[in-house]
Symmetry: C2
Subunit: 122 residues, 2 copies
DNA sequence: ATACTGTACTAAGAAAACTAGTACAGTTTC
DNA sequence: GAAACTGTACTAGTTTTCTTAGTACAGTAT
């Protein structure tokens, strides 16, 4: 499925959350699509099932998947979750831009940033 | 000087680094200005001196201060450090924008984000 | 001299992340 | 119905990171 970066200071369960959130939001994993089972993903990532469970639990809280005991976990894609995530990303960007403004960054450089991958949607 | 957020999952030494980096970059702490001593800051934040030492050591590695044994620590503001930090922030923003593009964010919303506090420089 | 400075070091505590193993109830497959 | 799945809950223990505590030393300022 994908690999982990053990040099990353970010916890494994966070890396897993980030990966799946991205995959679901981008549509690579479609709404209603089956997620790998807790045990199989744990096995293929050589990680403890509890760690996967934590990632899935938190993704479910965020609204990006639905776990049904006995059946499995499926990806969901609610407007609420998207809106929430959107605001989160906006906050981060605002904070970064605020710092950048003190680093003699021109308006053009910032605009450039927006246009860089304007057409890349995969 | 400032206060810490103990609910924040971010380590104390990271919070301290972030605060001072911002203060130095924004010019609130000027180039060459004296930083609080390791012990006095530790005392006023009710934190162990080792924690401050770690924050200062890493800020020095980033190029935002200079520590001289016996004398103290002073803020520095090198072009290299700024450039490095700038690129770091750019990477983060790019990553966030890439995710936002999958969240049905309009070009206008992104432009709005850039212009929001265009005149706020404090 | 005294009181500062940064730095280095060891030891221990506390918290977070991760692993290991077991168990249970529900679902799917045959 | 049996076997093999599924998610979930739980306890226990390990590992890693963060933080504290305390001591020591050399250089600087007053």
């Amino acid at each position: 499925m994908f690999s982990l970066d053990y040099r990353d200071s970010k916890p494994i369960y966070e890396q897993i959350k980030d990966r799946f959130r991205t995959l679901i939001i981008s549509g690579v994993i479609e709404e209603g699509e089956r997620m790998p089972s807790v045990r199989s993903l744990a096995s293929s990532l050589s990680v403890n099932p509890n760690t996967i469970q934590r990632a899935y639990r938190e993704l479910e809280q965020e609204g990006y998947l639905l776990s049904i005991p006995g059946k499995g976990s499926i990806a969901t894609h609610s407007k609420e979750a998207d809106q929430h995530r959107k605001e989160e990303l906006f906050r981060e960007i605002r904070k970064n831009i605020r710092e950048l403004r003190n680093l003699s960054v021109t308006e053009d450089e910032l605009l450039q940033l927006l246009k860089e991958d304007e057409t890349v949607h995969d």
